[in-house]
């Protein structure tokens, strides 16, 4: 049986129907590969197929994948840290508002990435560029409008949950909307902020100081330097992640004339920049870990020493991997983003959150308990011959 294809102009009503999957309930339209820039920018070709019944598990998997669970460490990581930190600091917590804000942020995280996937897919110009995540939409069995509707539902729920917060402090609504627009504006509209080299700035503020300061205000009604510091580091790590993604898509972006920061730098200088920022990032993190680690005998020198060794190992590992990346198409580049950075992010943020929590914990516990802990640590050190 021969395959049915249909070609329509970009931006036409028919193309929107085919992209969103609203043209026929019994059929699905899969973007056919397209190889030339001229054709891609003016025409879209779809392969029309019978739409098989959707298995619930497949659907769940696709939606879960689009939720970007791995990136929750960037959005929910600092939230968790702040909870622990303020709890141990004996701050007066507004638990009800804090829970609402946490749930709201969790929902908005999903909504943002659902919208992001939907808008990226609707642009319909990158089917041949091998963007793996978009294949959740491109190759899956459900139409694109489902993910858009999922985004609407999550946004509505997120905002609904946050109503009590916004009525208490309306300016937080602006902060939340600003954060969402910054993340969405990163790539959604036209070339997006990343196309003007401003994507990093948006991501930094949205996932950095804005997130930490906003949540701290909800939870304890104030945000001091320590919260801003946590926000800055989190924002910095988020930018590092984003820049690696942009490095991975350097050629595709360059081909489409999307002038990301990495495209502006070029391949070799991007490699140098990323290596430098990665190692610098680890140095900053180590400094912060060192500062936050409680002034407890052995804990601070040994803890920071262990962190130092782990950071050195990570830096070396990263440096070796980066050296193997010889072209923007190198498969080593894909591995670099997928594994090295993923692991590194988890380690970095876990350490950051751990020392942050310990910092609060040691300030909270009574003096006698501190002595008990010290005695225990001394025993442990003796056991290891230290």
């Amino acid at each position: 049986m021969s395959t049915e294809f249909v070609t329509v102009p970009v931006g036409s009503e028919k193309s929107t129907q085919l992209l969103t999957g609203t043209f026929d309930k019994s059929k699905r339209a899969v973007l056919a590969p397209s190889f030339t820039k001229g054709f891609q920018s003016r025409q879209l070709t779809f392969k029309i197929e019978h739409r098989p019944a959707v298995r619930f598990l497949d659907l769940l998997f696709a939606f879960a994948k689009s939720y970007r669970p791995s990136l929750l460490i960037l959005t929910m990581g600092p939230i968790l840290s702040l909870w622990i930190h303020f709890y141990f600091m004996r701050a007066k917590l507004d638990i009800f508002m804090g829970v609402l804000a946490s749930v709201g942020l969790f929902l908005i995280h999903g909504a943002t990435f659902y919208f992001n996937d939907y808008f990226d897919y609707i642009k319909g110009s990158d089917s041949s560029q091998g963007k793996i995540r978009r294949r959740v939409l491109n190759e899956s069995q459900f139409p694109a409008y489902w993910i858009r509707n999922g985004a609407y539902v999550l946004s509505a729920l997120g905002l609904l949950v946050a109503i009590p917060i916004f009525t208490k402090a309306p300016w937080l609504l602006l902060l939340a909307l600003g954060g969402m627009v910054a993340v969405l504006g990163y790539s959604a509209f036209g070339k997006g902020l990343k196309g003007y080299g401003l994507g990093e700035l948006a991501v930094f503020f949205a996932l950095g100081p804005m997130l930490a300061v906003g949540f701290a205000h909800v939870l304890v009604g104030t945000a001091k330097w320590d919260v801003i510091g946590l926000g800055i580091v989190n924002g910095f790590v988020a930018v590092l992640y984003v820049q690696h993604r942009n490095f991975q898509s350097l050629w595709a972006d360059s081909d489409k004339n999307v002038r990301t920061f990495m495209v502006r730098l070029g391949f070799d200088r991007s490699k140098f920049w990323l290596t430098f920022t990665y190692i610098f990032n680890l140095a900053v993190l180590w400094g912060i870990n060192f500062y936050f680690l409680p002034e407890v005998r052995f804990l601070k020198p040994i803890g920071s020493g262990v962190f130092f060794l782990i950071y050195c190992a990570l830096s070396l590992w990263y440096f070796k991997k980066m050296r193997k990346v010889q072209s923007p198409l190198s498969s080593k580049l894909q591995a670099l983003t997928a594994t090295v950075l993923g692991l590194s992010l988890i380690v970095q943020l876990s350490f950051l959150n751990l020392s942050f929590a310990l910092f609060g914990f040691m300030r909270r516990v009574p003096f006698t308990t501190k002595l008990d802990i010290l005695a225990f640590l001394n025993k442990a050190m003796k056991f290891f011959g230290l």
Binding site: S2, F5, S34, F35, T36, F39, L329, S330, S331, A335
Partner: protein
């Protein structure tokens, strides 16, 4: 119409070595691309002089790329004869390739079609970019088909899309949609041709009895090798990459796996051929009545290019 691709008069007589090198290079070429130009131009009723120029242009560029390619890949044979870099030294091979590209620019600028000149220059820069990137993928044993497609798009496919679009540029007056469509079709043909060429490396439909496993032995995973190796465990992958003969390949990955991947590969490319035929139908709707017959000729191309049918 018979096309004269190359004559001694095209090149300076006081450089006999250069002429001898070109004699060797052009003597056994099939001239497939120039024939494609001739076919397309015939339907557009272009002047003989223009057809001659385009045919010569594409063959000069193609052969220049072969001269450079052989040197980069250290290939010893070209069209069953010693490669130019071995016979005439690498320096001469590079200069001869450069000279061909320069001749192309001289000839086209004399012709005066600025759009054609610009399009040709873009194609040459694509070719070089593709060559550069392809070289960086040597020893990259995790490369994916999508990445290779991007290289083929720049290298092989850019020549094919030029063959299809250049005659339309030369004649002028066509709607942008036609230009977009023929360029896209040329690209698909190029990718199909390259993938079929990659199959020859594994002795599939190798009627011309080309040497096998050349790419793999030189550390380059071509499109079929990338498909074969995509799901292999590290031990099988290592054995596969170290294969010296086809028997080694079969024993490293299993004959059944080989056959299955081949069937999937053919199916994927069969779908691409269907996509190409769909574009042919669209082109037929866009072309003026007197030129619609071109589509019938274009529809026949995937058979010799991918399935290697004569």
């Amino acid at each position: 119409m018979s096309i004269k691709l190359f004559s001694q008069k095209d090149f300076p007589s006081y450089l006999p070595k250069l002429n001898a090198l070109y004699d060797d290079l052009f003597s056994r070429g099939k001239g497939f691309r120039s024939k494609l130009i001739e076919k397309v131009s015939g339907h557009l009723a272009l002047e003989t002089q223009s057809v001659q120029l385009m045919a010569q242009t594409i063959e000069f560029i193609h052969n220049a790329s072969l001269l450079h390619d052989d040197l980069i890949d250290r290939s010893h044979l070209r069209r069953s004869k010693p490669a130019a870099w071995l016979k005439y030294t690498p320096e001469y091979a590079v200069l001869a390739g450069d000279y061909l590209l320069a001749r192309v620019m001289v000839n086209l600028s004399r012709h005066g079609n600025l759009e054609l000149l610009q399009y040709t220059a873009e194609m040459i820069s694509d070719l070089l970019e593709g060559e550069w990137i392809q070289d960086s993928l040597v020893k990259d044993f995790s490369v994916k088909l999508e990445q290779l497609d991007q290289v083929h798009n720049l290298k092989t496919a850019s020549l094919f899309k030029w063959c299809l679009r250049a005659p339309f540029i030369c004649k002028g007056g066509y709607h942008q949609d036609i230009h977009d469509l023929v360029e896209e079709m040329g690209c698909i043909l190029g990718v199909l041709f390259q993938r079929s060429d990659d199959l020859l490396d594994f002795d599939i439909r190798n009627h011309e009895e080309k040497a096998v496993l050349g790419d793999l032995k030189s550390g380059y995973l071509n499109s079929f090798a990338a498909s074969l190796s995509s799901d292999l465990d590290s031990a099988s992958m290592k054995a596969f990459c170290a294969s010296e003969t086809l028997e080694d390949v079969y024993s490293s990955i299993g004959k059944d796996h080989f056959e299955k991947v081949l069937a999937d590969f053919d199916k994927t490319n069969g779908e691409m051929i269907e996509l190409y035929l769909h574009h042919c139908e669209n082109l037929s709707r866009l072309l003026p009545d007197g030129e619609k017959d071109l589509v019938n000729d274009l529809k026949k191309l995937p058979q010799p290019l991918y399935w290697r049918e004569k």
